[in-house]
């Protein structure tokens, strides 16, 4: 097989793993990343569900695998033009090159919690996001986490909610909430920790065990009901309202810390890439792929493939598995078409 260049847009776990596999198959992937580092959201996370193993462990592994691969950091794609089956790519750094296939791995953005104004993020000091708590676990430097006695987690923030135009489930936040709940309880054993959920979607390997562990070993209290509003009392503590739907009664509670489980949304700026490659969006705003079964790695554009959370919310194991299967699809495409 002759040497083929493949453009990988995005250097998160999906892009890194796709590139690694393509390289293993004897092809020449080129990763374009707009940030100054690889790893995407993984690089900002401290520990991973369901076992709380470190994020840095996985990140190092992915980095090790991609160390011989061409990576262009701090780069944006300014133009892609397809001429006679070859994609001509231009970068913001004024570099130009040609590839035979493109894999879009642009990932996701966390929901901007300010849009759910009733939760008071950005207004009340003690309302933080899942990403900020993860950052606290990493650095232990956040004055808002100050020996909290009562902590609440709100599931489905920006997901399963017509009011923010996101009707889908983000898949990862139930498990993240219980993971973080256990971790914060571990740090503050005297605290009462409540999780406000609508359904606990603990579908993956080891997730249900995490749920049981959270209940049994960490005494995390799961309340079925969505938090409807948050206010601040005169002492600067948070007062939340929710219905305990299993009891059928509304409840109020004062908290020292409220963590919002922000879901996934399409990545910022991905529209430009979509325009260049003629890719449509699905109802959830993510990139449309060619169906839900055998076409998951393909798009309607010939030679344009997808991997990871750019098409729908995904867990890390899902993302890595999809990246591997996308690499296989690209390989088959190049054998038969180029």
């Amino acid at each position: 097989m002759k040497e083929h260049n493949i453009l990988i847009i995005g250097g998160g776990p999906a892009g890194m793993e796709t590139a690694y596999q393509l390289k293993q198959l004897g092809l020449k992937p080129i990763i374009i990343e707009r940030n100054d580092r690889l790893g995407g959201h993984l690089a900002q996370w401290d520990r991973l569900f369901p076992t709380s193993e470190t994020a840095v462990g996985l990140l190092e592994r992915l980095k090790e695998n991609t160390k011989d691969i061409e990576v262009k950091l701090d780069s944006r794609i300014t133009n892609i033009e397809k001429i006679n089956g070859t994609f001509h790519v231009s970068l913001s750094t004024n570099k130009n090159f040609e590839v035979d296939a493109v894999v879009v791995c642009t990932g996701f953005e966390l929901f901007n919690a300010e849009r759910k104004q009733e939760y008071g993020y950005g207004i009340y000091d003690r309302v933080i996001t899942n990403a900020e708590l993860e950052d606290y676990f990493k650095t232990h430097d956040d004055k808002r986490v100050d020996e909290p006695r009562r902590i609440g987690f709100v599931h489905c923030v920006g997901s399963r909610d017509v009011k923010v135009n996101n009707t889908y489930c983000s898949k990862v936040c139930c498990a993240t909430a219980l993971k973080q709940a256990c971790e914060i309880k571990d740090e503050f054993p005297d605290a009462d920790v409540y999780c406000f959920y609508m359904d606990l979607r603990m579908f993956g390997k080891g997730y249900e065990d995490l749920y049981l562990r959270a209940q049994k070993d960490f005494d995390i209290k799961c309340v079925r009901g969505r938090v409807c509003e948050v206010s601040e009392n005169i002492e600067g503590k948070l007062v939340i309202k929710a219905e305990d739907t299993l009891l059928g009664t509304p409840m109020k509670m004062t908290l020292d810390l409220l963590v919002l489980m922000c879901g996934m949304e399409k990545a910022k700026g991905v529209e430009e890439i979509q325009k260049m490659l003629n890719l449509e969006s699905n109802n959830d705003g993510f990139i449309e792929n060619s169906g839900s079964f055998v076409g998951i790695n393909r798009t309607k554009g010939k030679g344009v493939f997808v991997a990871g959370a750019c098409t729908s919310p995904k867990t890390l194991p899902d993302t890595i598995a999809e990246a591997r299967s996308t690499a296989m699809e690209v390989f088959n495409y190049l054998i038969h078409n180029c």
């Binding site: 049994k216 209290k221 299993l246 009891l247 509304p250 409840m251 109020k252």
Partner: protein, 111 residues
């Protein structure tokens, strides 16, 4: 008091800040499995007493967690201690033992 024809309705909210969980914590310390309930409702569906009354193991423990002790104890009274709920519980909770503990712990308080 002069009746002006107005009245104030009591809040229907459970105010968790005012709920005293001392007894529940005692119950939980004796029966740690109580915290693993996942509200599947099997215990209530199979309950011999639940067919005719509002007995429900699931609701009993939920009410105790929310400070609705009186209502919970009313439900406990209707239990016949048949033990069917132990046979079905998805989480393997020793329900009957918990029901006995409740009678002991919460009635001691009455004295």
């Amino acid at each position: 008091m002069i009746d002006f024809g107005f009245s104030i309705s009591k809040s229907s909210h459970i105010q968790m800040d005012n709920v005293d969980l001392k007894l529940f914590n005692k119950l939980e310390a004796l029966n740690p499995d109580i915290s693993t309930c996942m509200a599947c409702g099997l215990c209530t569906a199979t309950c011999s007493a639940g067919n005719f009354t509002d007995a429900s193991f699931r609701k009993i423990i939920l009410m105790l967690q929310r400070g609705k002790d009186k209502e919970a104890l009313e439900k406990v009274k209707k239990c016949m201690m048949c033990g069917k709920c132990i046979l079905v519980c998805s989480r393997g909770i020793n329900t009957r033992n918990i029901l006995l503990s409740i009678t002991r712990i919460y009635n001691e308080e009455d004295k």
